[in-house]
């Protein structure tokens, strides 16, 4: 069968990732002449499914009590069964924590092959090829998957959303006889205060790096700047490793992949691992004392100055211009 299945967690909400995933799924399914089906799990899956149904041919809802909150083993078992039943050619997931965690194991259970962080998916005759960044963002590889189904998690936000169907797809409830696998159980969850929007959804991002020098300037200098611009805050790995900001702020190869309209990099060198997280940003701009810093090679505009001198003045200017 040439169907494509997309897997969504209801808890994530119908965000840009979900839309991008559906878009990728639709194009892919069309290319292969198959249908686009969605599997939605978790509490609130049935309401969520209604929105998804506008983009897919069928939606399967699994909102059993055991799946209400994400538990790794139980959710994996459920998804594996549901996907096996659908016999797809490909299973697509977004790039969130849970999807990344599940994808390889899902591929194993379905007898297929997985690959992650895909930015492009192509059908070449019989083969499925996925492009992704490797070597810390310094190179690009095209991976050919050898076993079916192909399980791919994507940088979903950088894919164009799917066209809304004139007629919504069918929503079915899955009949799953599920037993909770309690070998692992989530006992505590914490959401960091990140304001209303999530970093991956942000359209403007203010980000700080090693050159900031400590935790205070993030709070006293950069945060007010972000507030003025309606931006989300982020940081490079160096700042997170130093404990200056929470790890959820980390953008890069092993952090968030962001797709803002404007990414303002303050005192960030621009090592390829960081650039790997912002390669889909529309406009990158930097404040850095070193004119030869690699970040500038990716910028449309920048200023070579000490951020400590620029940022307070910049806030003044922006406040004046915004009036």
């Amino acid at each position: 069968m040439n169907d494509v299945v997309i897997c969504l967690f209801a808890s994530a909400g119908f965000d840009k990732a979900a839309q991008g995933l559906a878009g990728a799924g639709r194009r892919f399914a069309d290319e292969m002449g198959g249908r686009l089906r969605a599997v939605v799990i978790g509490a609130g899956a049935d309401t969520f499914a209604l929105e998804v149904a506008r983009l897919c041919d069928t939606v399967i809802v699994a909102d059993q009590a055991e799946l209400a909150e994400y538990q790794p083993e139980t959710c994996l078992t459920a998804l594996a069964r549901l996907c096996a039943d659908l016999s797809p050619r490909a299973v697509l997931l977004a790039g969130d924590t849970y999807s990344q965690e599940i994808a390889p194991r899902l591929a194993y259970r379905l007898g297929g092959s997985a690959v992650g962080d895909g930015v492009e998916v192509r059908v070449e005759g019989e083969a499925l090829r996925v492009s992704r960044q490797v070597y810390g963002g310094k190179a690009q590889a095209v991976i050919e998957l050898k076993r079916m189904p192909a399980v791919v998690w994507l940088r979903a936000r950088s894919f164009a959303p799917a066209p809304t169907r004139t007629e919504a797809g069918k929503v079915n409830r899955a009949a799953l006889d599920l037993q909770a696998d309690t070998r692992t159980r989530v006992v505590e969850r914490k959401r960091e205060e990140q304001g209303e929007a999530r970093l991956e959804e942000a359209r403007v991002i203010v980000s700080g790096g090693r050159g900031i020098g400590g935790p205070e300037p993030f709070e006293t200098e950069l945060q007010p700047l972000a507030d003025l611009l309606g931006a989300q805050m982020a940081a490079s790995r160096a700042a997170c490793d130093a404990g200056w900001v929470p790890p959820t702020w980390q953008v890069g190869q092993t952090g968030k992949k962001v797709t803002p309209e404007l990414y303002l990099a303050i005192a960030i060198t621009g090592a390829s691992q960081h650039m790997a997280g912002i390669s889909e940003a529309k406009i990158i701009s930097a404040i850095n004392t070193d004119p030869d810093a690699p970040i500038f090679k990716h910028c449309q505009f920048g200023i070579v100055e000490d951020y400590r001198k620029v940022v307070p003045l910049l806030r003044e200017k922006l406040a004046a211009l915004q009036k």
């Binding site: 924590t97 849970y98 991976i143 050898k146 159980r185 989530v186 959401r191 404040i287 910049l314």
Partner: protein
């Protein structure tokens, strides 16, 4: 408690981008001037294991690697950080095998090494970054798996795992045996070994196996491409010219900069 940590030795990922070259025919990076280092998440994993042992009072930590003979250096460094035992499976086939191959080889070696309560790998390797090995080892061994862990504690016979999520963190309780993939955090930066320990590490025994010793399909492992293969590898050319704001004074420069920002953001 018996802990096993997998390590991968890779080319130093922090060489300047200018010096990075790939061999399109062999579809791998060129060695060039890069040194060989242990992938950072593997070191985070080892550090997390060492801290767990310190908190728990005692544990045996074994380190394992599947790679070239030079990977012995990474294992010795782990011994210098006070891991207790080390084993190397020498790769005489595809130097960049697919994740399932790696997982199968490692799982076979793990079975040979004994029973473990906790198996730890880095969340992804610093070179190919597939991020699959941990999950696939768990499947091979029939164990549960939790990813992106940055801290582990043991309580009674259970493990408490703290792991990072997109929005914050979660704590999971887990029953050993379990596979865990580890990510970086301000608290699990790898410790610097004492020089004495570095010297002693060379005198410790290190088990070496070939693929034939493991009781798996050795030739299939050597091919390393039944799961997926690299069809192309290249360095994308990116041409962007940065416009540096000009001005006689700081004030003027920042004024120009502010204007450019407003240009971009007002269109949103």
């Amino acid at each position: 408690m018996n802990i096993l940590v997998c390590l991968k030795q890779i080319l130093d990922p922090e060489i300047p981008a200018r010096d990075f070259r790939v061999d399109p025919a062999r579809r791998e990076a060129e060695r060039g001037s890069a040194d060989l280092v242990t992938s950072i998440f593997c070191e985070n994993a080892l550090e997390t294991a060492l801290q767990l042992r310190e908190r728990a009072g005692s544990a045996k930590i074994t380190v394992l690697s599947y790679g070239q003979p030079s990977a012995e250096e990474s294992l010795r460094k782990a011994l210098a950080m006070k891991a207790d035992a080390a084993a190397l499976i020498v790769n005489d086939g595809n130097a960049n095998p697919d994740p399932l191959t790696t997982a199968r080889v490692l799982a076979a070696a793990i079975r040979k090494l004994g029973t473990f309560d906790l198996i730890m790998v880095g969340r992804e390797a610093g070179d190919w970054g597939a991020g699959q090995t941990g999950g696939l080892i768990a499947e091979e061994l029939g164990m549960p798996c939790v990813s992106f862990v940055d801290r582990i504690e043991s309580e009674g016979g259970q493990l408490r795992l703290k792991r990072q999520t997109d929005t914050g963190w979660e704590v999971l309780e887990a029953e050993p045996p379990i596979v865990v993939t580890v990510t970086n955090d301000e608290h699990n930066l790898p410790r610097i070994p004492k020089v004495r320990d570095v010297m002693m590490s060379y005198r410790q025994p290190l088990t070496k196996w070939t693929l034939d010793d493991l009781g798996i399909e050795a030739n299939e492992a050597r091919a390393g491409n039944t799961y997926y293969q690299v069809a192309e590898l290249f360095i994308p050319q990116k041409e962007t010219r940065c416009e540096f704001v000009t001005g006689e004074t700081l004030d003027q420069k920042v004024e120009s900069f502010a204007k450019r920002i407003v240009e971009v953001t007002s269109a949103l």
